[in-house]
């Protein structure tokens, strides 16, 4: 057996041991409030459709909020980095707003946007937008002066400079911001559902808990973490592809 295979096996062994231990304890306790992996698996099969459709709704909202945040905040951050006086004026406001936890603005948003999808997407956009704008601005206003000199001596317009120099050279830091934004859009998507929604995985989890269906709840959590792993892997792939010049240097 070679080294990598052994490591892979070890990687399976530990979670496997945890599952076995969990099942043993569940057997010993034999309580509906402490379901074992077998019950959870049964719950996954039983609630498959319900979980998938709810999680789909949650993910759609998260994706919409994330996309909206990217489309607004990345160009804004680049612009503020280039138009120096405006950046200096606006960045303290950004720092101030960024300290606000997203759930804190829920009542305010409800006042203006109601309790529907729009309200949730606004909150997610806010949550995802903060790390995006902060990282984009930080990157674009600390661009090496050499890049600016090159842009000016090649007679690029301001717009061309932002699009062709500032944006690509800020991408590594934007990617870091985007990774944080993905995590917080998922998080806020679920928590906002618990506060104001009739569907979504957050509602499903809350309902399971309220009805003491712990197995169903754990089934939902298992699903979320699986989706999280897939999203992370996907984001990693995209980042490697876009930033090959940054990582292979």
């Amino acid at each position: 057996m070679n080294e990598s295979r052994r490591i892979a096996l070890l990687g399976l062994l530990v979670p496997g041991a945890v599952l076995v231990l969990w099942q043993v304890v569940a057997f010993a306790k034999s309580s509906p409030l402490f379901p074992g992996p077998i019950e959870v698996t049964q719950a996954i099969i039983r609630n498959w459709h319900e979980i998938v459709s709810n999680l789909g709704v949650t993910l759609m909202r998260a994706a919409a909020g994330f996309a909206l945040a990217t489309v607004i905040m990345v160009p804004l951050g680049i612009f503020l980095g280039r138009v120096r006086w405006l950046g200096e004026a606006v960045s303290p406001v950004i720092d101030l707003v960024a300290t606000l936890p997203p759930p804190a603005i829920v009542p305010l948003v409800m006042l203006f946007a109601g309790t529907g999808d729009a309200a949730k997407i606004v909150i997610i956009t806010y949550a995802a937008g903060m790390p995006l704008i902060m990282n984009t601005y930080e990157a674009s206003h600390t661009i090496h002066p050499m890049f600016s000199r090159v842009a000016r001596s090649l007679h690029l317009t301001r717009f061309e400079t932002m699009l062709l120099i500032d944006l690509p050279s800020s991408l590594p830091m934007i990617a870091t911001g985007a990774r944080l934004a993905v995590a917080s859009s998922l998080l806020v998507s679920i928590t906002s559902e618990m506060l104001l929604a009739t569907n979504g995985i957050g509602v499903y989890l809350q309902r399971s808990q309220e009805n003491f269906q712990i197995g169903s709840g754990l089934a939902g959590i298992a699903f979320i973490s699986a989706v999280g792993i897939v999203i992370n892997a996907l984001a990693y792939r995209i980042e490697q592809k876009l930033l090959f010049w940054h990582y292979r240097r």
Binding site: H144, M146, F147, R149, V150, R152, S153, L154, H155, L156, E160, L164, I165, P168, S169, L171, W245, H246, R248, R249
Partner: protein
């Protein structure tokens, strides 16, 4: 021949916490079309500041710089710069060929013709097979050659060179000096080379302008009485070369001792 670039009574101060610092004061110079001129001076005399001023990348405190008779406020059309720091002046997310094409954004012509021309220039700097590589995949000397090709690609009437060979090794340096002279002649390129290397200044140019200590100005003009065709061995042993080298070097050395005293 007409002056393509002139500087009249140029002065540049930098305001700092410890009062203003005068970098350039009372500087005059002129570069004619088709010439290869070197600007050489002791280290720390303000060469890079001067180059940035000449390129329109730095504002002046007093005086005037003109390019083709027009006062320089912003980097003028028709003037290109090859920076010393090639690792930052080339865009790492573009291939070498695309970096050269980037220098041609303001050049007229269709995409196909530009691409051919960029490939031709890459060939001319000896990097024919490296168009698809990225700058970080090739050596420092090769990167600087890409930067030079980009400078030439902009089809500028004047190329400002900020110590373009300072960061490459001695062997590559000699080769690149010849490559440069060759290209300058081939494309009839007017060049102003800023350098701290006296030998290089004399070897490359038809005229050497010697800069004084800070606040700097042109303190002497040395005409190099050598044919345009240069050779690393013969030129460097030519009495005219040695005389010019001696004149410039002793002048710069005298500035240094005066400063130390």
């Amino acid at each position: 021949m007409t002056d393509i670039l002139t500087a009249r009574n140029v002065a540049k101060d930098f305001g700092g916490t410890g009062g203003t610092l005068s970098i350039i004061d009372g500087l005059n110079l002129a570069v004619k079309k088709g010439e290869f001129v070197s600007l050489v001076g002791p280290s720390g005399c303000g060469k890079t500041t001067l180059l940035l001023c000449l390129a329109g990348l730095q504002s002046l405190t007093r005086g005037e710089i003109t390019f083709k008779g027009v006062p320089v406020m912003e980097p003028p059309q028709g003037l290109a710069v090859v920076f010393q720091d090639y690792s930052r002046s080339l865009l790492p997310w573009n291939t070498n060929l695309d970096n050269i094409l980037f220098g041609m954004r303001r050049v007229a012509g269709d995409a196909r013709a530009k691409r051919d021309r960029a490939a031709e220039l890459l060939e001319a700097v000896g990097l024919g097979g490296f168009g698809g590589h990225y700058p970080w995949q090739v050596s420092g000397g090769m990167q600087q050659r890409v930067a030079i090709a980009r400078g030439l690609a902009s089809e500028s009437e004047l190329l400002l060179l900020d110590e373009p060979l300072a960061a490459v090794d001695a062997q590559t340096r000699a080769d690149m000096q010849d490559l440069f002279l060759d290209l300058a002649r081939k494309f009839n390129q007017t060049c102003l080379l800023v350098t701290h290397d006296v030998e290089e200044a004399v070897y490359m140019a038809q005229r050497v302008l010697v800069l004084g200590p800070r606040p700097t100005k042109v303190v002497r003009e040395v005409t190099i009485e050598l044919p345009r065709e240069r050779d690393q061995l013969e030129t460097r042993e030519d009495p005219a070369f040695l005389a010019a080298r001696h004149e410039v070097l002793s002048l710069i050395r005298s500035m240094r001792t005066r400063k130390a005293a």
